[in-house]
Each structure stands twice: as C-alpha cells, then as structure tokens.
C-alpha cells in the first residue's frame, strides 16, 4: 500500500516551502519543508530527532509562527526543562503563547481492539492544541507510540493516513519523528503516508569520534538528493553544515593581495596571493610556518580587513610572544577588533564540532583573511575519507565567503611523502614549502613555492630570514652541500 498523498497542487503548489530556520538545513531543503505537509525525521535512539522537531516549532514561534510540540512520551514540564538552554527561548515562547508543549498521554499497556475504530479522539486533542495558539507548525514525537499500543493493522494504517490528510486540510506543516527501520525508512513504514521528504539522522562513533550525519531524501519523484551532511547538537540546539559546491566550480579570482612579506611577493608574478585563494605552508617543526601565516594576517589588518587566526597548537599568549620577536604587533589588531584569535585543542571536539564553530565565527565575524594553524592536527584525527570530506568542506566554506586562507601543515619528515600532506595540497591553490639547510657552516631557513595554480612564480629555493622587522626572503640559493628541505 504505497499510494502517494492526494494531489492538492491546484490549490496548494507543492513547491511552497516552510523554512525551518535551522542553521544550514534550509539550504539543503531547497528553502524549507513542504508547506502543509508532514515530513518524517527518522533515526535511531539519541540521533537528534526530538531536538530537530523542537527546533522546527521553536524557531518558527520565535518568528511569530505559532507552533505546537506534542510528545507521546514525555510530560510538558520535563520537555520545558530539557530544552531550557535552547538558543530559541523555549520557556519565553511558551509564556508568550506562541509555543505550546503538550503531552499526549496514552495509558500504558495495550488495549483490546475489537473491530473498527478511528483516531478521531486524537484529532480532537491535536486540534485543541493547535487552536490554543493558532499553530501552523506541529511536531509530533513520536508516532511510533501508537504502534506500541495498537496492532499495526490496516485500520491503524488507514487512520494514520487520514491523520496526515487532516493535518494537510488544516494547513499545518508538521515534523513527525519515527524510529528508523531496517530496510524501510521507518520501523513501521509511516513514510507511505507522508510527504516524500524524509530526513534521516545518523549517529555513530567512528574511530573514537562521535559523528552525526543528516541525509535529506526525496524518495519519490525525479530529484534524489542523497548527500550526507554533518551536523551538531548541543544544549543550544541543532545546526547543519551543508556540503557546498566543489572549489572547481568557483569563479577564478583576479585580485592579488600582499603576503605580508614584500620580498616574498616578488617571487610571485602579480605580487601576492589571489583573493579568495587557499595556500598551504608545509614544513617540519620550527621552520617558521606560523610566522608566514601571521605575516599575512598582519598585512590584512593593515589594509583594514578583518582576520581570523585559528590555532590548533599554541595558546594565544604564546602566539603573541612568538610574533613580537619578528616585529609583528598583533595586540594592536586585537584591540582594534580587526583580529580574532581562537586557540583550540583538536581532540577537544569531533571534527564536525570544529567545523560548526568555524562556521559560526565566519558568520559572526566575517573575516576576509583566515589562518588555520596547523590543519594537520585537525585532519589526522579522522580516516582518509573523513579527512578529505572535512577538508573539502572547510576549504569550500572559506572560498564561498571569498576568504583568503592560509593553512599550515606540520610534517614530521623532511624527506619522503606524507599522505595527509598529499590530500591537503591537492585542494590548495598554492603550496609553499619551508625547510632548512646547512650552508657555509650555518643553518639557514628556506622557502620555496612548490605550486601555485594559475600564476607564474619562482621555482627556486630561497632563504627565509627572520628579522626584527618581519620575514624577508632572499634571492635564489646556490646548491648547498647538505640539503635538508621538506619536499
């Protein structure tokens, strides 16, 4: 019995959308959920179904679209407590009368079923709740409860179908949670009666990291969008990181900006990094990677642009101290609000949580320049596949915002290949290698441009000098007696 929902397209165009207002989700949904229809959110226990359902009604209520959250399992007081830290002010919205939380109690145990019945009494209860606040949004958590109390006969299934039709007639857009099935989207096959939009929430532990993925499926009709999107749940709610188009589709940038090291600018035709490009600076420990990044961020601030420095190794105070020694006064930019520094331990969160935090910072602070130092600390926590995916998303996230980004990559061996470096450099526009050599009896720092997409540049090895006045790059070096540069 897999009939489509009745076609109301004459009076209710299916392409009308109701935004969820959940960060990142509406982009993936093509504007929002289908208006006047019920959408399933399926997943295992703890996957985040209840949170997403609550976000849908709460965020709508906060924008003046009243909503009702009906729980078959929990009491209203408990729900209010559980969601008291939500970014959407659940208690405030309840008190203000735009959000109603209600428990739909069904006595424990099963009932004897003797013959035909309808769910009209349930409709009366739902209707009363909707009328109380004039709701256009509804969340029901979880419809599976009905199946726990009633046998899954044709009568029940028919009644569930009528329930969704009734909601549609009332013009209510609903999110219905359900337990995920094996082989069917939901355990009880409820997808047969709702809109063709099903959101599957997956939560698993991969290599010690808690990972959450959301998939938005349209399983009827032509478009079958099956991307997986990482998402984050915390006490403030639910947010999704959409997969953006690959960087190959981005428009080729044209403006070039100074690297912050004028003598390095000279090595690149046009003098500097392309706006919106991504550069990786690789090298073993102590080769000056952070200095190269911060030289660029300093230059950005001098131009009056906002810069964001994400440190996954040193603390903020350590960074400040290090930079003073080469004449970069970053505290001035901090005071002026042009520079923001975030120091984090990579293992502090899952990869998705880092990505989400970065996205929030980008959204709030809107920097034009970003340094990620080092990227290798972050990406080595995952498998090769996870690494590539996360890296692509991060690079895309920054390119979409036309941010000029510099990443550092720590390598452990100055010779030989490093698989993570290979992954990283393949998505970068420019690859700068830092190293050191012994020449004339002294250790000298080196810099060379391994690749730079689309521009001519020096391919030679140059000396990198740390002066009191910033970094300087010397002319091409002669072939030294002992070479110790990173490849």
């Amino acid at each position: 019995m897999n009939e489509s929902p009745p076609d109301h397209s004459a009076t209710d165009p299916y392409n009308e959308r109701v935004p969820t207002y959940i960060d990142g989700l509406d982009i993936v949904l093509g504007g929002g959920l289908p208006a006047g229809r019920s959408t399933l959110v399926a997943g295992g226990p703890g996957a985040g179904k209840t949170v997403m359902a609550m976000e849908f009604v709460a965020r709508g209520a906060a924008r003046g679209e009243p909503g009702v959250f009906l729980s078959f399992e929990q009491g209203a007081e408990q729900l209010r407590r559980d969601f008291s830290s939500f970014a959407a002010d659940v208690p405030g919205l309840i008190d203000g009368g735009t959000l109603l939380l209600r428990h739909i109690g069904i006595d424990g145990g099963s009932f004897e079923e003797v013959g035909e019945y309808t769910l009209d009494a349930l409709k009366i209860r739902i209707g009363a709740a909707l009328d109380q606040v004039g709701a256009t949004r509804l969340a029901m958590d979880t419809l599976d409860t009905l199946f726990a109390h009633l046998r899954g006969t044709e009568t029940l299934r028919g009644e569930i179908r009528h329930l969704f039709e009734w909601l549609h007639e009332r013009g209510v857009t609903a999110v219905i949670t359900a337990e995920q099935g094996q082989g069917t989207f939901t355990r009880h096959g409820i997808e047969a009666y709702v809109s063709d939009c099903v959101i599957l929430l997956d939560h698993r532990v991969l290599e010690g990291l808690s990972t959450r993925r959301a998939r938005v499926l349209k399983y009827r009709g032509a478009s079958h969008n099956d991307d997986e999107h990482p998402f984050l749940i915390d006490a403030t709610g639910f947010s999704l990181i959409p997969i953006l188009t690959t960087h190959l589709e981005h428009d080729a940038p044209r403006e070039q900006v100074s690297t912050g090291m004028p003598t390095f600018d000279d090595l690149i035709k046009g003098g500097g990094y392309f706006r919106g490009s991504s550069t990786v600076v690789s090298g073993t420990a102590g080769t000056g990677k952070s200095s190269v990044v911060l030289s660029y961020l300093d230059a950005a601030c001098r131009r009056g642009e906002r810069a964001l420095y994400l440190s996954f190794e040193e603390s903020e105070s350590q960074i400040m101290r290090n930079m003073e020694s080469i004449g970069l006064d970053l505290s001035r930019w901090l005071d002026e609000g042009l520079l923001k520094v975030r120091a984090r331990r990579p293992a502090q969160h899952g990869l998705e949580a880092h990505l989400t935090e970065i996205e929030r910072l980008l959204h709030q602070f809107r920097p034009r320049a970003v340094g990620v130092d080092p990227i290798t600390n972050l990406i080595t926590v995952g498998s090769e596949t996870t690494t590539r995916a996360m890296l692509t998303r991060l690079v895309d996230m920054l390119k979409e915002r036309d941010v000029t980004a510099i990443y550092t990559a720590l390598v452990y061996s100055s010779t030989g290949t490093d698989r993570h470096l290979a992954s990283v450099s393949s998505v970068m526009d420019t690859w700068v290698v830092l190293g050191s050599v012994y020449q004339e009896g002294e250790r000298k720092r080196t810099i060379h441009i391994r690749k730079s997409r689309g521009i001519q540049h020096s391919h030679a090895l140059h000396e990198l000098i740390m002066t009191d006045d910033g970094l300087e790059v010397g002319g091409p070096m002669d072939e030294p007696s002992t070479v110790e540069s990173s490849r």
């Binding site: 739909i104 109690g105 069904i106 006595d107 009932f111 004897e112 079923e113 003797v114 013959g115 035909e116 019945y117 309808t118 769910l119 009209d120 009494a121 349930l122 409709k123 009366i124 209860r125 009363a128 009905l146 009633l150 009644e159």
Partner: protein
Amino acid sequence: MSAAEREGERWLVRLYVAGMTPTAHRALSNLEAIIHDNLGEDAEIEVVDLLERPQLAEDEKIFAVPTAVRHMPEPIRKVIGDFSDAEKTLVGLDIRPSR
C-alpha cells in the same frame, strides 16, 4: 442472577465517541447487548460525545473512538472498536461472562 446482581456492585461503563457515526451506533448497540446480557439491566452505560465535551479526551486519555471504559468497579479497563466480538469485549473489560 447476573454477575452484577450477584456481586451487588454498581457497574458503570462509559462509551466515548466522536459524534454518533454509524460505527458509534453499532458500537453502542453491541455494547448494550453485551453489558446487559452479562451484568443485567442495572449496569449503566453512559455515552460521552467528545465533540461536545472535548476536554474529556485529554482528561481520560482517549485517542481512538469508540472506546469503552469500565470505570466502576475497578480495575479500569479500556476496549477500542465496535465491539463486534462479545467474548473479546468481555475479556477486554475484565468481565466474567454469566452463564
């Protein structure tokens, strides 16, 4: 002697409906037959129309109709449907059939 008369208890069964639909009529007439055959004419059946008294749906946790609820004597028992099977209905309401 019916079970009710034997035990000298007062029986109250409520039938919850959402409007007197054909199913509701059928349920009522089936229920009346079952109750009066087994508990005697003194057993009371009260019909509650939730369309007129919707708050009771919430108070009594009714979600399907028709629902027959044995209120008195305890234990409280609920049966959903049109009661087309007398024996199942009696079992559901925890009423021992009279001989």
